[in-house]
Subunit: 396 residues, 2 copies
């Protein structure tokens, strides 16, 4: 690798540890892992995947890239990724009973700590120039037993466990909380503990939206390209409207897929709030202010979209309080870049035809960072890795 390149940290990269694969293989309903007639194991996560035709039928191929650490490192080396912060992929523990989820979270957190902290298990094969401590190429988000009916104390115990694990620096979380979403009184002690912990909370979608995609067969496109970002957008809008960021301003939320459609609809949300008698006096600030309190991955696939994320974060402090403010004017200052971090969504979106060794989906996101108009080299290097080093406290 060229020594002049930027440190590259992947904040959005998933695994299914072997124990999790076993949980999914045992299931007969979605989500599940099954062996297709051709002998290929496939994971069915979405209802849309339970039918279909030809190569697209019955889910997506699932193989060692989901659980084999050597495959993750190989992917990282191919793309020049120095450090990955891995997280359990959706649907996490959502399908388990409370007791099962509590046990599974505890075991998976130990698994993922071992996955990260014992690398390399043999003589170093690391090709990173930035990691003299080669044990520091892998970090993780832990899992919480967030299922309906779980005792709050069990969730708080999981947070305590995670705080004790050297390589687990955050938690991954879906949008349902303990069943009613992230705008639920039952989540309050959990938000408080997470805010106090300093852990990064990676909010990620799984369920999409219901009954909106019609009768034509569009494969996974609409569920993944629209359902996922819509789910995240709704969940975070609800969280903000419930006052969670007013009460816990130190909460560190990292939003998957650059928060979906939240940046593009944040001024519309602001306007709808001030025009609605039910909501207009509820929040301490203009809705747009809260976008500056959160972090975003750079998984947008295009530079114009990524630029929007940066601009809505950059303008956020103009909207402190509820006074009228002049529109933000772009003067070539980009404070929002401090809140955005490269991600790949590995091992999802592999090349369809296996062409080359680099993944198109990864290059799209690298090109997006390279293509944002106006950013300096320093700003791009923050997004590529320096921001993650700071946020997760990564020791290089």
């Amino acid at each position: 690798m060229a020594s002049s390149r930027s440190l590259l940290v992947d904040c959005h990269t998933h695994i299914y540890p072997p124990s999790y694969m076993d949980l999914m293989r045992k299931r007969t309903e979605i989500p599940r892992v099954h062996t297709a007639p051709d002998g290929q194991e496939k994971v069915i996560l979405l209802k849309e995947e339970a039918h279909g035709d030809g190569s697209n039928s019955q889910g997506r191929p699932v193989g060692p890239q989901y659980w084999d650490r050597a495959e993750k490192i190989k992917f990282m080396d191919t793309h020049g990724i120095d450090v990955s912060i891995v997280s359990l992929a959706n649907p996490w523990l959502d399908f388990l009973t409370p007791d099962e989820a509590v046990k599974a979270a505890r075991d998976l957190n130990l698994d993922i700590q071992q996955y990260c902290s014992t690398y390399p298990s043999e003589a170093s094969t690391s090709s990173s120039q930035f990691s003299p401590q080669t044990s520091n190429r892998l970090f993780a988000f832990g899992s919480l037993p967030l299922v309906p009916g779980v005792e709050t104390s069990k969730v708080l115990e999981a947070i305590e466990q995670i705080k004790s694990l050297s390589h687990v620096r955050g938690v991954v979380m879906g949008t349902r909380g303990v069943g009613k979403g992230l705008d639920d009184e039952a989540m309050e002690p959990i938000w408080k503990a997470l805010a106090d912990s300093g852990l990064v909370v990676f909010v990620h979608p799984h369920y999409g939206v219901e009954g909106a995609f019609g009768e034509q067969d569009n494969g996974h496109v609409l569920a993944l390209a629209l359902g996922f970002p819509f789910e995240t957008t709704i969940a975070i809008a609800r969280l903000i409207l419930y006052g969670v960021l007013d009460r816990y301003p130190t909460l560190r939320l990292l939003l998957a897929h650059s928060a979906g459609a939240l940046p593009a609809l944040s001024s519309r949300l602001s306007s709808c709030v001030v025009h609605d008698p039910t909501v207009k006096d509820r929040l301490q600030h203009d809705f747009r202010y809260y976008l500056g309190q959160m972090w975003y991955d750079a998984v947008t696939y295009g530079p114009e979209e990524l630029a929007l994320t940066e601009r809505v974060v950059s303008r956020a402090d103009k909207y402190e309080g509820k006074d009228e403010h002049l529109a933000y004017v772009d003067r070539g200052v980009f404070p929002g870049v401090d809140r955005i971090m490269f991600g790949t969504d590995h091992p999802f979106f592999p090349p369809l035809d296996g062409e080359g060794t680099r993944w198109k989906s990864v290059d799209e996101n690298l090109d997006a960072i390279a293509g944002v108009a106006g950013w300096s080299g320093t700003e791009r290097s923050k997004v590529m890795g320096r921001n993650a080093v700071e946020l997760f406290g990564i020791e290089l």
Copy 2:
């Protein structure tokens, strides 16, 4: 008015003609108009409005601003709007039987033609400097009887009727087509007729998304700020994936609320398409190309969001065909401004406290146009009115 200001044309402004109000008053189910205990007539359009408390209960106040032309002109004069292109507000004719819808469309198209063409009915009170022909301050989108079970020939007859009406320059359309959405074989002859007609098709949401907004009372905020744009985004993504813009490249679609989340998710859509075996070979161009084939209102409420709409249209021609292209680099050239047009969404989003005479929601959208970084005065004047003059063939 200052003579140096730009011509201002409002392409997104709604009416409920008296005959439509009567249809809504007769109904006992949503959508309906009823008289609240305080004597105020209210319209209930969304399920979220059928409950609620206090001033927010049982819908939104509906009054002469919905049907009285003098009120529309007064609103236009207050905000310096020279020309309005009015459209029937949602939910249009969706709740009628085919026979009822055919008759209602025919009558409403005559009503709206009269509404526009007979102004001023008495001595001119126009304050516009741009309309020596004062009969040309109002134009319209007509209505089509797009309901399940309607005969295609009846829809085509409505298109013929509209073509014969001097002040009706387009049609307003929801996202359900004749029941199954805009990606429906039954829509093909209708798309063909609309493409051949040169009429502008204003696509507007009404239904939002189902079951996603949780248990907290957030008034109308989530349904309007998120459900509406999500519905439009899904509808147009489905239309593109069905190949409608490949088959009818001359179709002139104008997308409400700047196409919702479509600009922000267009690169994600592109990436999901090329990674999906079901869809990857279906379209003639990269998904992003099609964004350059459509028109957008400027109803974004913020300059950064509006800039994104312009940028994704500006970059569209880079994505002709399916070759790899370098990321679009912003060089201060803004061809996308030709496709964006000012709108107000009047008479929705009135000031809550009646303060002042100008509407905050209108000023937010004017400020958005004024605040986009990089646009010249010429570019802003296109968005404010010149584009609409050209697209709708308005004679000044």
